[in-house]
Each structure stands twice: as structure tokens, then as C-alpha cells.
């Protein structure tokens, strides 16, 4: 990371280095009486104490959707929490070429670590490789690059697990019901993640021979498409027992269609974990009984990982000296019983 720092950067850098030195002195004083190997031999795990100054470059897609907006928010807020992190954030774009350009700019700026949520993982693999070859480690967020060479660490949600857990939840709820009918309102069909969610859902349903999926329609992750597709589904299926909707944003529209059709004869499970979905689950007045998480807090965790990478530290709570190469988050099912716990992570 050889680059000519600006005067301000130099000042901050010096301040940070001296601060670190002071802190190191403090901690070494404190720990000298106890642990022998933890403090001295290997790399300590990252914690909230300020460490070496790290500049993190963040390149995400255009936040035209509740979840993506929450991703940007989570990243910014987490970076602000650390006095030793400065965040270089590019304007989000859904255009592959434009995002490649933005990441190249960050590489040229010689940021210490890159966090990339690619608009399209496969299409951006090359620029990920380029960053890694330039000596800038990449934390790949959510949509995965084609090859592990293009990132140092991947962190993201579990699309298969989302579908699977939704299916298991529905299966348990309808266990005693013979010939139960299940309907699926999927997301954008040309996305890999939609296929994974459906695959997980289908696999879970196989564990419950009394369940049968009678219809599946794809929407576009938007309220408008959710309303339109759900209205059609309700017309096509005069009676069914459970609905899994891949995305809570389009779920706003889906719920609207349900109330317009005056239907309340089934249970609905949402996806992603929006605030409005969690509020509806808490109130327990409509068909929405649960949502499977795809937590946007992963962006905050990605900043944590990038900071640890920049400071050559491992992750607290694990024995490893280095951060892991891959972290898949768990898609917890949020229902009335645990909604209060998850409410703070709900996004608008």
C-alpha cells in the first residue's frame, strides 16, 4: 500500500499510529500478568478498540429497493462507528460497465480494502481479480464472484436456506392437514438467487408428503408487480393453505391484493425481513405470519471483516488468526414469538 498521503492523511495517520502505540502500551501492560500466548504470539482478534487506520472502498448497486438501501445504510453506519475507518463510497449503479469503472477508480485511489456488492457477480469477477492482483483484498458481499481468486472473503445470505426454512415452517404449520395446497410468489426469475430460493423451498416441501405446490408466479421485487401477480394468483387458486412470497417489498403489494380480494383463508410467509412485514407479524391481524430473513446487517459485518483485514486481525470469538474465507448467514424464521428481537434489523 505505497501511496503518497495527503497532508491531512499524514496528520491523521500519525495521530492514529501514536494512538495505537499508546493503546498497545496500555493493553500490553494490562495483559502482561495473564495470558502468555494470546497477547504476544499471534494476531489478536478485531474488537472495538481503535487500531491501524483503514480506508475501505465500498461499491454497491443502485439502492432502488428497500433491502439494497438498507445495505448502504448498514455499511455507512458501521463505518462511522469506528474512528479508525474511513469509507470511500461510490455511487451505486446497476450498470455493469459503470460499476466496473467505479471499482477501478477505487483501485487507483489505492484504498486498503474493497467491499463489493456487485450488480452481477459473474460480470464483475474480472475487476475483483484485478483488485486482488493489485494487492487490495476484496470482501465480496452477497452476490458471489465466479472464482474464489477474485475475493479474500465472501459474506452473504443463504438463498437456498431462505426457501428451505420457509418450506419447513409452512410444513410444520400444516402438518396435520391432508392435501394441503401451497402457492409460491417468486422474485425476478432471471436471477440465480430466485432459482436457489425456489430450490430450497421445493426441497423442504418434499419432507412433507401432505403438501403440494399448486402454483408459482414470478414478480419483479416491486410493490406494483407484487400486487399484479398476487391478484392473478388469487384468481387462479380459489383455495389454498399457504403462500411463500420471496420478498417483503413485493409483499406490500401482495398483501394489498389479498385484502382487495377479501381473502384470509391461508397463511403467508414473507422473505428478507422488512420493517413493515415485521410490524404486520407482530400485530397478527392479517395472513402474514412469518418472514425468513435475508439480513441487510451483512453489510455491517462486511465492514467489520474489511477492517479486520486491513488491520491483519482475525474475528473475535473464533480461534483463527485470520478472517474466514467465506461466511454464509443464517436465514432465521421470524414469527410472532421472536419478532421483537429482530425488529431493530427490519428495513424500510
Amino acid at each position: 500500500m505505497s501511496h503518497i498521503p495527503s497532508r491531512r492523511g499524514l496528520l491523521f495517520g500519525t495521530a492514529a499510529v501514536s494512538a495505537t502505540a499508546v493503546l498497545a502500551a496500555c493493553t500490553s501492560n494490562e495483559t502482561s500478568d495473564g495470558d502468555e500466548d494470546a497477547g504476544t504470539s499471534g494476531q489478536p482478534a478485531a474488537d472495538d478498540q481503535p487500531g491501524k487506520q483503514v480506508t475501505i472502498g465500498f461499491a454497491g448497486p443502485q439502492a432502488d429497493h428497500g433491502w439494497l438501501n438498507a445495505i448502504n445504510d448498514q455499511a455507512k453506519k458501521r463505518a462511522q462507528k469506528y474512528s479508525d475507518v474511513s469509507l470511500e463510497i461510490t455511487e451505486g449503479s446497476n450498470d455493469t460497465a459503470q460499476q466496473i469503472g467505479q471499482i477501478e477508480t477505487l483501485i487507483n485511489k489505492k484504498v486498503d480494502v474493497l467491499v463489493i456488492l456487485p450488480a452481477d457477480g459473474k460480470a464483475l469477477t474480472q475487476v475483483g481479480l484485478k483488485a486482488m492482483r493489485a494487492g487490495i483484498p476484496v470482501v465480496n458481499l452477497d452476490r458471489i464472484f465466479n472464482t474464489p481468486q477474485a475475493y479474500r472473503c465472501w459474506i452473504g445470505g443463504d438463498n437456498y436456506g431462505m426457501g428451505f426454512n420457509a418450506g419447513q415452517y409452512i410444513g410444520e404449520k400444516l402438518k396435520g392437514k391432508a392435501n394441503a395446497k401451497v402457492v409460491e410468489l417468486a422474485g425476478i426469475d432471471n436471477l440465480e438467487l430466485t432459482r436457489q430460493r425456489t430450490q430450497g423451498f421445493d426441497d423442504a416441501l418434499k419432507n412433507y408428503p401432505n403438501l403440494r405446490k399448486v402454483a408459482r408466479q414470478a414478480a419483479d421485487f416491486t410493490v406494483e408487480s407484487g400486487q399484479a401477480k398476487m391478484a392473478q394468483l388469487l384468481q387462479a387458486q380459489p383455495q389454498f393453505d399457504a403462500l411463500w412470497n420471496h420478498d417483503d417489498d413485493q409483499g406490500v403489494g401482495a398483501l394489498r391484493a389479498v385484502s382487495q380480494a377479501g381473502r384470509d383463508d391461508f397463511l403467508m410467509v414473507g422473505g428478507a425481513g422488512s420493517l413493515s412485514a415485521m410490524q404486520a407479524i407482530k400485530q397478527d391481524k392479517g395472513v402474514l405470519k412469518a418472514t425468513v430473513l435475508y439480513p441487510p446487517t451483512m453489510a455491517a459485518s462486511a465492514i467489520d471483516l474489511a477492517r479486520a483485514l486491513g488491520q491483519d486481525k482475525g474475528v473475535g470469538g473464533l480461534a483463527e488468526f485470520e478472517i474466514p474465507a467465506s461466511i454464509t448467514l443464517y436465514s432465521a424464521v421470524v414469527d410472532k414469538a421472536n419478532v421483537d428481537q429482530y425488529m431493530p434489523t427490519g428495513f424500510r
Binding site: A63, V223, A228, A231, Q232, L233, A236, Q260
Partner: protein
């Protein structure tokens, strides 16, 4: 709650076919052949829907659903028809719907009520139409470019206003308009608005000087100018009209979806252009029919409905939509050449 099953409207309208074709000549006859062929396509679709899903398709609720879903894009298409007829194009309709809907719903969250939402949506639509119109008529910009610029900036502004968040409407009087309880004689209010816009559009085009001028400007702007028509002002009015339709459509979309989102109206421009073209409006200007455009919208919505009822996936739907545009235009060219 349950309404008596009324027969699909097109089966009744098929009657005059035999009487029309041989004796009439000229523009009127050509337009009628075109509309009859569109009604034929719609009739075929109704038969297909009736055979594949008799219980779900031939149902009052489904008729209400199809017409409701046609309403938003239908209102946009009426405005678009006027613009295309005048030799222009409006690529910004989807973005204007998005901007008008999020602007109105951010106002809604500040509790200005029903009137606040309606007026904001209509005013934003008119405002965008005004900008388009001034740029094109008085700024001398090509419609394609001016409205493309509006597309980009209106979408950007919509994203900025919402910050990517979905604006959920909490005003009951607005939401109720989309519910079953407010149906008038079994007709959803959204469909009534769509019908009203269609009738006004038809009267405007066929029974007023405004309509004749719009056609004249599209057919030959220079001749129109020599005939004493203020071509610039006429163009300004046409883009204002399109913007107004987008504002109304945005309000309908708010009622329908109970929210405003910056992704609203995605690809409406293409749907509206496609519906107007298969309805017989010339992309080069000089000719257009409101009835044809509305039939075009109904054909698309019916196809979507039949596919959803039969649980076909979106890829098949898109392919079929493309095929129908090609087929409809080919059929029209043949019928147009024949007379």
C-alpha cells in the same frame, strides 16, 4: 358480494363485421377493419381462456381484475396515442408515473389526505409534461431526446425523494377506492376512471378541433402550419396531455398498490407504445385511434391473465407478447394494403 356474470363485451361487438367490409372505402373503413381484427384477436383470447380455465376465467371477479389491471397502463396509453399520432414520442411516461406516485405518497405520509395525493400526482404529471412540451415545441428538441432526458431525470428524482424506500399509504379514503366495497354496480372505480379517460380521449380526437389539429400536425407539420395551425402550441398541449394522463395513472397506481415506489411504471413507455402501435397508430404520425389503443392494452392484459391462470412462467409470457406485436402489425399491413 357476488355479482351476476356478465358476458364478455367483445362477443356482442363482433356483429357488424359482415356488413362493413365490402361497401366502405377510405380511411374510416381501414380503421374499422383494423379494430374488427383486434376484436377478433381479443375474442380468440377469450375463447382460449374460457377453454383452458372455464371456472376462473369466465368469472365476474376475473373480468373486474383484467379491467383493473388494464386501467393504469390504459390511461397512459391514451395520452401516448395522441403524442405518437402527432409524429412525436414520449419515452418518459413510466418515469413520470414513478415520480408522480412517490411525490404524492411522500405528501401522503405528511397527512394531506385524499385531495393532497390526487392533486400532487396530477400536478407533477402536468409539470413534467409541460417541461417536455416546452423543450420540444419551443426549444426545438427532438421528442426522442427530450423525453429520454425526462426519463432519466424523473427516475433519478423519484429515487432521491424516496431514498429507495417504499412509501406506504395510510389514508383510508385512498385505499378504499381499490377495495371491493367501493365498486359501482360491480365496476371498480379505477375502471370507471379508465373508461372516462377513454371516452374523453375519443371525443377529443374525433369531435374537436384539437383532435383534427393533432392529426394534421402529425401528418404534415408544414401543411398544418400553412393552414394556420399554431404547430408549436399544439405540440405543447399534446405533451401536457400525456403528462396529465401519467399523473392520473400514478394516482390509480397508488390506489391499486397502496404505495409509491421509485420502480413504479417500469417499462410503461414500451407497453404504451406497443399497445398504440398494434391499435393502429402510425409511429410516423398522422393517424391514430383511441379505441384501437385501448383494445391493444386489453389484449396484453388478457394474455397476462390467461398465462397466470394457467400457471405459465414469465419467460413464456414475454415471448408471446413479442410474437403478438409482430403478428398484429403484419395483419394490419395486409389489411391496410388490401383496401
Amino acid at each position: 358480494m357476488t355479482q351476476p356474470v356478465s358476458p364478455p363485451r367483445d362477443s356482442a361487438d363482433k356483429m357488424p363485421e359482415a356488413a362493413q367490409v365490402p361497401s366502405w372505402r377510405g380511411l374510416l373503413a381501414r380503421a374499422d377493419v383494423r379494430i374488427l381484427s383486434l376484436l377478433g384477436v381479443l375474442a380468440v383470447l377469450v375463447v382460449i381462456g374460457g377453454i383452458t380455465k372455464p371456472d376462473e376465467f369466465l368469472d365476474t371477479r376475473n373480468l373486474q381484475l383484467v379491467l383493473t389491471q388494464a386501467s393504469v397502463i390504459g390511461v397512459v396509453t391514451v395520452g401516448m396515442t395522441f403524442v405518437i399520432m402527432s409524429g412525436g414520442i414520449d419515452l418518459s411516461v413510466g418515469a413520470i408515473v414513478a415520480l408522480a406516485s412517490v411525490w404524492a405518497t411522500t405528501v401522503a405520509t405528511q397527512e394531506y389526505g385524499f385531495a393532497g395525493i390526487l392533486f400532487t400526482a396530477v400536478l407533477v404529471g402536468l409539470g413534467c409534461g409541460l417541461v417536455n412540451g416546452v423543450l420540444i415545441a419551443y426549444g426545438g428538441m427532438v421528442p426522442f431526446i427530450a423525453t429520454l432526458a425526462m426519463l432519466a431525470s424523473a427516475r433519478g428524482l423519484a429515487l432521491q425523494i424516496t431514498d429507495g424506500q417504499t412509501q406506504i399509504v395510510t389514508i383510508d379514503s385512498v385505499l378504499k377506492l381499490g377495495e371491493r366495497g367501493s365498486y359501482v354496480l360491480g365496476i371498480p372505480p379505477l375502471v370507471l376512471v379508465f373508461a372516462l379517460v377513454t371516452v374523453i380521449g375519443w371525443l377529443l380526437l374525433n369531435r374537436t378541433t384539437f383532435g383534427r389539429r393533432a392529426v394534421a400536425v402529425g401528418g404534415n407539420p408544414e401543411a398544418a402550419r400553412l393552414a394556420g395551425i399554431d404547430v408549436r402550441r399544439q405540440r405543447l398541449y399534446l405533451y401536457l396531455l400525456s403528462g396529465l394522463c401519467c399523473g392520473i395513472a400514478a394516482f390509480l397506481l397508488i390506489v391499486l398498490s397502496g404505495s409509491g415506489q421509485n420502480t413504479n411504471g417500469n417499462l410503461y413507455e414500451l407497453d404504451a407504445i406497443a399497445a398504440a402501435i398494434i391499435g393502429g397508430t402510425l409511429l410516423s404520425g398522422g393517424r391514430g385511434t383511441i379505441v384501437g389503443s385501448v383494445l391493444g392494452v386489453l389484449i396484453f392484459t388478457t394474455i397476462t391473465n390467461i398465462f397466470a391462470l394457467n400457471n405459465l412462467q414469465s419467460d413464456v409470457q414475454q415471448i408471446a407478447k413479442g410474437a403478438i406485436i409482430v403478428a398484429a402489425v403484419l395483419v394490419q399491413r395486409r389489411t391496410a394494403n388490401a383496401t
